[in-house]
Each structure stands twice: as C-alpha cells, then as structure tokens.
Symmetry: C2
DNA sequence: AAACACAGTTGCATTTCACAACCATAACAG
DNA sequence: CTGTTATGGTTGTGAAATGCAACTGTGTTT
C-alpha cells in the first residue's frame, strides 16, 4: 500500500523515485500495461490528438490522422499523386481519395492529370492551401513546445531517435 | 539487395548518421512533422493498434482503445465501478458503459450493485474473463518483445521514463 | 422537503475506415 | 496489334468508435 492517504501529493517532477514506483492512474495501477510501450503510445495518441483537434478545430483539416500529413506533402511536393500519399499515410486509396476530396472542396488543393500517366492525378496546393499549411506548421510548433519542452534537451534527442527508429521498424514490418 | 543505387540510402540500422538525416517515408520527406513528437506518436499508434488487432482479432476485446485496459482493471480490482474505469480511460461514461456492455454480453464480466451506493455498479470478472485477461497479458508481452526488444536496455529504460512522464504530464493538463 | 450532485443509460449524429466492385489507362505477352 | 494483366482512382456499402444531450434513479446538502 502506497501512502495514498497522504494529504500532500508531491509533484511528480521532483520525486526522484517516481520512475521506479508502479504508476497510478486515477488511483489505479494498470497491471502489465504499466511496462508496455504500446499502452503509453496508444494513450498518448489520444491526448495528443485531442489537443491537436482543439487547436485546429476551426481549420479545415481538423480530426483524423491523415489530413495534416497530406496537406504538407502536397505543399512540399507539387504534382504528387494520391497513391503516393496513401503509401505515406498507410491508408488505402479510397480513404486517401476522400481526404483529398474534402481538401479540394475546401479549395485547398487542386487536382490535375499527370503529364506522363493519364490515369494518375497531379495534386497541387492552392494559395489558400499554402496559407493553411503555414498555419498548421505553426500550430504543430506550438504544441511541441507546450507538451515536450519539459524534456531535457539530451533526453529529447534520445526520445526522438528511439521514436523514429521504432516507427521505421514497425513500418517495415507492416509493408 | 543492400547495394542501393542511390548514394544516400544505406540500411538505417547500421548507419550511425541515420538519426541526423531527414527521414524519408515512402520516398518523401515529411516537412516539419519529421521533428514532431506528436506525429511519431500518432503514427506509431496506428501501427501498434493494427498489430494488436491482428494479434487479438479472434478474441472478444479486439479493436478500440479501451477494452483491454478495462478488462485488466476489472480483473485486478474486483468491484470497480464503471465511472472509475472511465476516468482511467479518459472516455465519457456512455462510451465506457458500452464497452462494459459488450464484455458483459460476452460473458467476461458481471455487473452487480455496489454495496454502499445503489446508483453505482460493482464489476467483477468471470472465469472466462480472467482467462481472457491472462491471454491478453501474454499477447502484450509478445508484442512488446517483438517490437521493442531491439532497443538497447539502457535506452529502453530511458524511453519508458520519458513516455511515462509525458503521459502523466499531458493527462494532468487535460483534466 | 427542495435543490443539487452523481452514476449510469438511451438516443442520436458524426466521423473514420476498410473491403469489394468498378472504370479507365498503361504495360506486357504472344 | 490484340488479349491479358497490372495500376490509379472512384463509388458503394457496412462496421465501429466516439461524443453530446437528455433522461432516470439515487445520494447529499441545505
């Protein structure tokens, strides 16, 4: 039994042993999930995504995991094709196509026909889309600053390194 | 085939500078998202969740983010109430209630009335539910081993430490 | 006794997402 | 150059997650 009844809950940031104790969330331990990377990643996803939705609620790319990436890709790679975006997103083509539909309807992106392949589309950003991309970048920067700046710089580099490697590794397993 | 024609794409695992280069995903850089923790967390979530679904596809708790945690909580805390689970999950009560509905229907959990509060429910695991919880723990262990064992032990502790702290910090911001 | 707070349920309404089937174009085989 | 196969994108459909508002019943407070 931990000292739960204690009237003063010490700020976790200042307790050196915090990392060794079983985690308590809303007063409950979480079993094997406490040591599971996957659980923290999945839980962090919820929080990060909600926060991002709150920040972007009024923009045309809120909600869902693909819109932001798609927008920035089209901004950076004029002429990119939907199937390329689908591959980056790891979504199927119908799903990706509908994401693009919405962006076209919102006037952020325009569809053209690829010069070399009549089947393929050539996506380009519109001025409004480019403006939005800039806003999105700024929002991402802000969120990163607010949520992750507390991590010490050395830790941050390490954290990013592991995240990147894990992501690439899992990606390659999937495809 | 490791002899890639491109001058700059050696196998990432063996390249010491891999962490310094911009990441390429399906041949495309991902703009500011490359340095964004949130993007990697959100993307990792997709991959991890899909993998978990694949592993659990046949069990009664596949898909969705709350079922596994709820099952283990009920297994560990007999008599726990739905609202407590909702708080851990950071989901609203209707959502949590429906998760529990499905588990009750599947014979994993039984609902009772709390001894001290006629409004509240007292959830307990059934033998079938307990068996499933054991299976789930084993699957989690396997996934962790397969996906994260490549991280060096020291790095792993560090990674977990940062994940935990980030999670707790974000949680406290939300509530 | 009335007002308020809390636990859980029900009814929507929204959004996401994947699979299958389909059309058009391209690439390739004979 | 013709038939077959592969590729890019769209449409149809259904399953599932999730969240908000409104409701019932119970506890708590004034």
């Amino acid at each position: 039994m931990t000292t739960d009844a204690s009237p003063h809950s010490p700020p976790p940031d200042t307790d050196p042993d915090a990392d060794l104790r079983p985690l308590e969330i809303a007063g409950h331990r979480i079993d094997i999930l406490d040591g599971a990377f996957s659980w923290f990643i999945r839980s962090l996803d919820s929080v990060v995504s909600r926060d991002l939705d709150a920040r972007m609620g009024h923009l045309e790319v809120a909600k869902g995991k693909g819109k932001i990436t798609a927008l920035l890709l089209i901004d950076d790679y004029p002429g990119i094709r939907p199937s390329e975006i689908a591959e980056v997103l790891m979504r199927d083509r119908p799903t990706t196509g509908r994401i693009i539909d919405r962006m076209v309807q919102a006037g952020l992106v325009s569809r053209g026909v690829s010069a070399h392949d009549q089947r393929a589309q050539s996506l380009t950003i519109t001025p409004a889309g480019h403006d939005l991309a800039e806003k999105v970048r700024e929002i991402i920067r802000q969120q990163e600053a607010e949520f992750f700046d507390f991590i010490a710089p050395e830790d941050r580099a390490q954290f990013m390194r592991i995240l990147r490697r894990t992501y690439m590794r899992m990606r390659s397993k999937w495809t």
